[in-house]
Amino acid sequence: MDSSVPAIELRGITKSYGSVVACDAVDLAVHQGEIHGLLGENGAGKSTLMKVLLGLVQRDAGTILHHADPVEIDSPQAAVALGLGMVHQHFSLIEPLRVWENVILGDSGRIDRIAACTQVEEVGRRYGLPIDPMARVDQLSAGERQRVELVKCLRRDPSVLILDEPTSVLTQAESIELFSVLRRVVQQENRAVILISHKLAEITAATDHVTVLRKGAVAFHSRTAETTPQELARQMVGRDVSLRAEAAALGVLPVERTSITPAAGIDAGVPAGPAALSFHSLSVQVGGVAVLDELSLDVRAGEIVGLYGVEGNGQSTLGDVLSGLIVPTSGTIELGGVAVDASGPGALQRAGLGIVPEDRHRSGVVLDMSVAENLTCKALDDISARGFLSRRKMYAIARRLTAEFNIIAPSLDAPVRSLSGGNQQRLVVARELSANPTVLVAAQPTHGLDVGAIEDMYLRLRKVASSGVAVLLISTELEEVMALCSRIAVISSGRITGVLSTGEATAERLGMLVGGIAA
């Protein structure tokens, strides 16, 4: 087949959700035998573009060409028929089913279990993705599940393979393994791969071509070899990346201890007083498995402590415990030296803990309630008298907080659903800080935010810490914790494997700790 004709080409794809333009006349051409990186911040339109390509979302305008033939992709089935295969960021496997059942899902014709199992094993051998076809998916680890996804995709012999943030749940070793599989897929079998990522290092290391999306439009396109991470970062953000933390968060800065200076005033001014927040042997058992395993940690007033680790090592469980959603199986949580019974809803909050949860849609806001209601929902005592609500007081508080935290909303009565991610996040922070907490826990606070909002969040966290609040930053971004924190605790399999001051932390030592090896 003519290699100058793209395997898949998108021309002028436009898609709006209401007044928000998610994709604005996007062009993208992907050739066989190459890995094409699609880079962009969260909300830049990468996901929408791929949903259009996969028939999950209907575009408003534009053309899709498959080997130069215009095609209509109006359903996932149509996409599959054209040889488009996708490995989703969040796994699309069906848990109670077995591996082989998941793999053949979406095919047609009679079921042949033995042939399916053989094929799973055979594809696994060919690409170095060993997996037991009879295993039930709900008993597999995250890495194994991704293998199943890949096998499922590859056995259909896709001409175009799409991977959406494939490394977000993988360890470094697993990521490297994945990219070597992908290289084999394009070089030996002449397929096309679209790699969606917001990690510059990954894109530079693994792709042949790169397209940068910004605010729904193509901002930049180049051969990867002909560009630099700095250039990509600039294109992704739309201006020179100057702020140190911001650059670090984007992965522009190499992850080396020497190149990162902790933000001024954090190391020096930390009082050595008693811990404002401490965990003692905190454990959470889920179905016999210790998700949090005797976790102990202290955070003192005025410091930012980072809790760093690969996703899925107990961070979200810790977040849920601190949000009052899960009651720890054993261990204690102390605030200001006083043990708090975390079993009652809101007990930790009343004791002075504010939390910005990892998934704000899940437990941070009520999407279908108004901005004013969301801002005041934890301070009902302040806006009511004798059980009755005072709209006047509610609006007064909401007006003050939206102004102070620069929350942009159509109106105070608008549902939070209608706000952008950054504004939703600012709303959560505003509400949590409005209670004057002594401890602030921020879990993945910059996930899904644009650079402006990230910058704003970092400044806010620093300011909060310098005002004497103890800050615990739960993050999977190494650069983020290196730039913000004075101490970094590493979590692995629900345990703290080590606590380093930023001065002692090197990528190597942290890497060992993340892998569960105490350094």
């Binding site: 021309r11 053309t63 009052g324 809803p345 909050q349 279908d368 609500l389």
Partner: protein, 389 residues
């Protein structure tokens, strides 16, 4: 947790999906058309039996709103319907979908019958105590479902449904058991499966006298409860929490709300309302003042339908409760024209669809239009490209 989410999405579908929007007029138009279709279908059905549709309509009119006496009956039906509906609004708001009102109505009726027939007190005191016990009993019955959900996540829709059939058998047992509530037999005649009539003093009072309009205390109670629910839901701290629990239980818990307890309480309150409705029904003329297996006569099911049509807004439930009351009282007059009264059940069901379906259809139309636009632009582009080549 998954069942909780189910509840949430259910309520979203029934509450939020139906709020006024840009397509509000379109929806109203479709509802109007749907009501006309329901009318046409009913006409067809009546004609098929050889009866006259105009005669049937006239009978409906005569039985429900033609005279003050007819209005009296209509309002007697509307009162318990409204009480059930107002209670449903509360449980739905919390995300728990209670469909067992029929059983809870029966339990309420059982309770009021037991109190008024077994205790020895002044009539009015018996009535007041009876209604309170009915509320407690109906609430308890619904709360059992919430308890089962908390113990092992039993789906609330299923358990409230099944508990209805258990309640029916409990009533049947009560009126078939001499030591319980069955009326003692007159010598030589086999006893009927029903209780004694409750004393006049324990029956709900009405203002006015036949043939003029008689306003039952039950209706006043119903309206008061409805207003109370409306105010509670929109103006109080408790209503705020309830809304949070319904829309996002996790955020609610994060904000310090005892989600399970509040959800259980909301379910119990909806059951208590159904229980009160049962008491009001039994102590008014349309309930014959005695416990019979069929005493609830589907008031529970219909009250739930009223709440659904009103999209869980208590004030909006008032006119719909009235409409359903009209259909009931009018339905009693249908037989005189040779049209079986069951027609009313068909009309009621179709009317619910006429109000519930249009918003869903409007949604589909909107999506179809979007797809058409997209494929139209998709077809357009290749032509351009061909021209360029």
């Amino acid at each position: 947790m998954s069942a909780e989410r189910t509840g949430v999405s259910l309520v979203r579908r029934t509450m939020l999906g139906l709020q006024p929007s840009r397509s509000g007029w379109q929806i109203a138009g479709m509802s109007a058309v749907a009501v006309v279709i329901v009318g046409a279908l009913s006409t067809l059905l009546i004609s098929s039996t050889g009866s006259s549709p105009t005669a049937a309509l006239h009978a409906l009119y005569t039985g429900s709103i033609a005279s003050q006496a007819a209005w009296t009956t209509t309002l007697l039906y509307a009162a318990p319907l409204l009480i059930v509906a107002a209670g449903s609004c509360i449980s739905s708001r919390s995300g728990a979908f209670n469909i067992g009102q029929e059983g809870q109505v029966l339990i309420g009726a059982l309770a009021v019958a037991a109190v008024t027939l077994k205790l020895q007190l002044a009539g009015w005191a018996l009535l007041v105590i009876g209604i309170c016990v009915a509320a407690l009993a109906g609430g308890f019955w619904a709360w059992l479902s919430s308890l089962m959900y908390r113990i092992s996540g039993v789906n609330i829709v299923v358990s409230t449904l099944l508990m209805t059939f258990v309640a029916q058998q409990l009533i049947s047992y009560a009126v078939n058991t001499s030591w319980f509530l069955q009326e003692p037999s007159v010598a030589g005649i086999a006893p009927l499966p029903e209780s004694k009539q409750i004393a006049t003093g324990s029956q709900l009072r009405s203002f006015g006298s036949y043939p003029n309009l008689q306003l039952s205390v039950g209706l006043i109670l119903a309206l008061a409860l409805t207003v109370a629910v409306a105010v509670t839901m929109t103006r109080t701290r408790w209503g705020f929490r309830l809304k949070m629990v319904g829309l996002n239980p996790l955020t609610a818990r994060h904000a310090g709300v005892r989600v399970a307890a509040l959800g259980g309480l909301a379910l119990a309150i909806s059951g208590a309302f159904a229980g009160i409705a049962g008491a009001v029904l039994l102590t008014s003329p349309v309930g014959n003042f005695r416990l019979q297996p069929g005493v609830s006569s589907n008031i529970g099911w219909d009250g739930l339908l009223v709440a659904l049509v009103a999209r869980n807004r208590p004030i909006v439930a008032v006119p719909f409760a009235l409409l359903f009351g009209i259909l009931r009282s009018g339905g009693n007059f249908l037989s005189s024209t040779g049209v079986p009264p069951f027609l009313v059940d068909v009309v009621k069901g179709l009317l619910v669809l006429a109000f519930v379906a249009p918003p869903a259809l409007a949604d589909i139309l909107k999506r179809r239009a979007a797809t058409r636009r997209a494929s139209a632009s998709g077809r357009h582009a290749p032509a351009l490209q061909g021209a360029a080549a």
